[in-house]
Amino acid sequence: MQRLRVRYAKRGRLRFTSHRDISRAVERAVRRAGIPVAFSAGFSPHPKISYAGAAPTGVASEAEYLEIGVTTPCDPEQIRSGLDASLPPGLDVLDVVEAGQGGLADRLEVSDWEVRLPGADRELAEVAAEKFLAAGTVEVERLTKKGPRRFDAREAVLGLTVSEGTDRIAAQVPGGPCVILRMVVRHMTPAVRPDDVLTGLRLVADFAPPVPPEVTRLAQGPLDASTGALADPLDLDRDKTRGGEAGPAGEHVAG
């Protein structure tokens, strides 16, 4: 069975899709596109589509990944265009490769997040980021399905920078300044999400944005040990001769 690895984006208003919504949409798109998806055996056959590291509901992403098992070999570029045409606009297929050695999920070690904060104060944000990075640990609490859970939000954060831009959604503060946080966060258990880092910023420096943040995952993948940069997790599949080594770091930021 051939396996195809797919990078897709979740953009604009479709960032409000949940993981389950996306999984239904992908199953239907696969059928519409006529992709010869493999099914599991048994009483209730399911299409062989698996997901790695899905972004939370409400968070946009330029780098989501899934894997499809197909019964007959397919051309990755045809699958890319066919699947993209069959998904609603906003769920956009960016890249498809034939799977090589090694699991995809294992390669998704780190995420690069962009957090837009319309109406927030840049200086306060910078102070908060400095304090956060200077701290050894920052204990935050999040409400999970099993109740409140406390964990350290600091250790996972490999980088945190502050810049400025314009507010994309023109929400309550139309045209106002927009602080942009970029955070590079290691995937850990429990997962540290951008909103946990924001909680951390509030705890260390009382930094609280006035409106809900607009969060986008720009990239996720393995961390290049030599350069410290985020690599494209599909490069390993593209370049099978390199085996399990990390590919060269590149520019993966889109949108």
Partner: protein, 636 residues
């Protein structure tokens, strides 16, 4: 002048609400047109949550038909949950359509499709959020025409004050006709304003405009008469019937939601109407006569629908799907065609009949034989005669035993409680029946691994049915019988665990009864309930019986008078001026026969019994067989 999207303002609220995806639109096959390319614009509302409203066939069909018309656009709007409603009020965000997020007040028509009366309070929320005055008399030139349709519109009197107009019956053709009346009136420069537009609609005889009718009452509260208050307004308004469903093969472009909805499948209506004559069934009375889609159109619609949607389930809908004259060939043809594609087929609404097991077997060739559902409705043979649901205990046991022995493990049986003339014994008969079903099933299969679930709800007498005169059972009686049935089912250890029991308590049925057979005076109750926070009355977690009773008392409305009171033959009923085609004398006669246990056959196979519909409406039964077969297709 283009109308601005409210989406940027809505978007800022979405991170704070549950399931925000339901408000963003962007469904596959949805349509967004430029505002300025259309001169007639419809907002279509299903007055319940998106997850219930999106799969609704009525709205989906009209959405497609209207968007196919030149210079016409249609968008959809649904009830927003209270969490978003509160934020919209705080931020001044109006009721919006999910397609282009335009404010509902900017449209020419707000069409609301009522499958059930329990959506009335949600309509008020939408009107209020839209900035449209709740009462039709307070609306001005800039407000849309608020137009009701759907089964509940066959008695729109309880919401008459909030409506500008209502239409009865099939919506396809009348929606187009209304569009053209509006287009012409706008092109002429809107002569006579809103009033003349409504007058033009009313004169046609196909649109009910409540304000052109006055209702007079007797001192005792009964209606004395309902009469037009202007010349040229007809005394009666007639329902619409689409003939030849093959000419209307919608939906062609099924909406595929991103959010999870209650029906995740592509549905094809295989016929409209039903003449089985079940006396409790409003749908069966008001959708006559039976009009089948041909086997070939069904086949083409299923093929197209799967291709366009990517759904992996197909539902063959109708009021009694196994009654299609070529259902056997449809089932076999579709099962052949989709074998090995992981496409499942379902046939809701089947009667108790061994033939239906064969159909179910065709539909479950890939080995999934989990559950079958039958609806005997009445617990005793006597009760089933009263409601004209002709199935004997022997039939039922034989059918269910066949199902078990062919590998089905679970059988669901639907019943009603509170039917006319019902006694405690009739309801307790359900327990006996369920035990016999399990006993026979165990004997037939030699296995104890079979289950039967009894599902039961309160009966609500509906307008335009033989039971429109009946007194509804009070909720104390219904609840007492439901408890007694539960005890009877559980008392017997040998069967208790094999029988599941699901029931709805009697109080919501009383409110549904008030709204179903209410008149214009009930509108004050609906408004008071809404003002007191009443929303989503079809959802048990939102419904409050006490709120409804308090509002009724405040409005001086005697709920018992509207619900549990039996009506006399000559009493003017609130919906008598609305014509479903049924002959009133026939309905009364059928009501009398119900009480004496007389049965009526199906007019598809026996001579016409003069229910009145075909001659009044100029319609006729349209059924097969066509003799054609479904050809195998190469399925992508």
């Amino acid at each position: 002048m283009p109308v601005e999207s409210i989406f940027p303002r809505l978007e800022a609220l979405l991170p704070k609400v549950q399931k925000p995806i339901q408000y963003v639109g962007g469904e596959l096959n949805s349509t967004v047109k430029d505002w300025d390319t259309a001169d007639v614009r419809w907002a279509l509302m299903y007055p319940d949550a998106y997850e219930v409203g999106l799969p609704n066939q009525g709205v989906a069909i009209l959405y497609e038909i209207l968007n196919e018309l030149p210079a016409t656009l249609a968008e959809r709007t649904y009830a927003v949950w209270p969490d978003l409603e509160a934020l919209m009020r705080a931020e001044g965000v109006p009721q919006f359509t999910v397609d282009a997020h335009r404010p509902v007040r900017a449209f020419d028509v707000l069409g609301v499709s009522f499958s059930t009366e329990l959506g009335y309070t949600n309509m008020l929320t939408a009107l209020d959020l839209a900035g449209i005055p709740l009462h039709a008399v307070d609306r001005g030139e800039d407000d849309p025409i608020v137009l009701a349709g759907g089964h509940a519109a066959f008695n729109p009197e309880p919401i008459a004050d909030f409506l500008d107009a209502a239409v009865l019956g099939d919506g396809e053709q009348i929606a187009i006709a209304v569009t053209e009346v509006i287009r012409e009136w706008k092109a002429e420069g809107r002569p006579g304003g809103r009033d003349e537009l409504l007058m033009r609609l009313a004169e046609s005889g196909g649109v009910y405009v409540p304000k052109f009718y006055d209702v007079d009452y007797h001192p005792d509260g009964r209606i004395q008469r309902v009469a037009p208050n202007r010349a040229d307004v007809p005394w009666r308004v007639h329902k619409h019937t689409v003939m030849d469903l093959d000419e209307w093969p919608y939906p062609k472009k099924p909406l595929v939601p991103l959010a999870e909805t209650v029906h995740e499948r592509f549905s094809v209506e295989i016929f409209r109407g039903c003449t089985r004559g079940c006396r409790f069934c409003q749908a069966g009375m008001i959708t006559r006569p039976v009009r089948e889609r041909s086997i070939t159109t069904i086949g083409a619609m299923v093929e197209n629908g799967i291709k366009e949607s990517g759904f992996n389930e197909v539902g063959l809908l109708s009021l009694s799907s196994a009654d299609h004259s070529e259902i056997g060939d449809v089932a076999k043809g579709l099962a052949d065609r989709y074998e090995g594609t992981n496409t499942s087929l379902s046939l809701p609404s089947t009667r108790v009949d061994a033939f239906n097991i064969d159909l179910a077997n065709e539909f479950s060739r890939n080995g999934r034989r989990s559950g079958l559902t039958f609806a005997p409705e009445g617990g005793s043979e006597r009760m089933r005669k009263v409601i004209n649901k002709m199935v004997t205990e022997e039939d039922l046991i034989r059918t269910v035993t066949t199902a078990y022995s062919q590998g089905w493990r679970q059988v669901k049986l639907y019943f009603m409680c509170g039917l006319p003339t019902e006694t405690d014994e009739d309801v307790l008969g359900i327990a006996d029946l369920a035990k016999k079903v399990i006993k026979a099933g165990r004997e037939a299969t030699g296995s104890r691994d079979i289950r039967c679930t009894v599902s039961i709800g309160g009966f609500v007498p509906k307008p335009h049915t033989p039971f429109q005169w009946a007194g509804q059972a009070d909720h104390e009686t219904v609840d007492r019988r439901l408890r007694a049935l539960r005890d009877a089912l559980r008392s017997d250890k040998a069967y208790g665990r094999a029988i599941g029991y699901r029931y709805h308590d009697g109080k919501p049925s009383i409110v549904e009864g008030l709204l179903s057979r209410g008149d214009r005076r009930v509108g004050a109750v609906i408004r008071a309930v809404w003002e007191d926070g009443g929303r989503f009355d079809g959802w048990s977690e939102h419904f409050s019986y006490e709120r409804w009773m308090a509002a009724a008392e405040k409005a001086g409305v005697d709920v018992d008078w509207y619900t549990t009171r039996e009506r006399e033959e000559n009493e003017v009923l609130p919906w008598d001026h609305l014509d479903a085609g049924l002959d009133r004398e026939w309905l009364w006669q059928d009501w009398q026969e119900a009480v004496s246990g007389g049965e009526v056959e199906d007019c598809r196979w026996t001579p016409c019994y003069d229910c009145g519909v075909c001659p009044t409406m100029g319609t006729e039964i349209q059924i097969g067989p066509t003799g054609r077969k479904l050809l195998p297709l190469t399925v992508v």
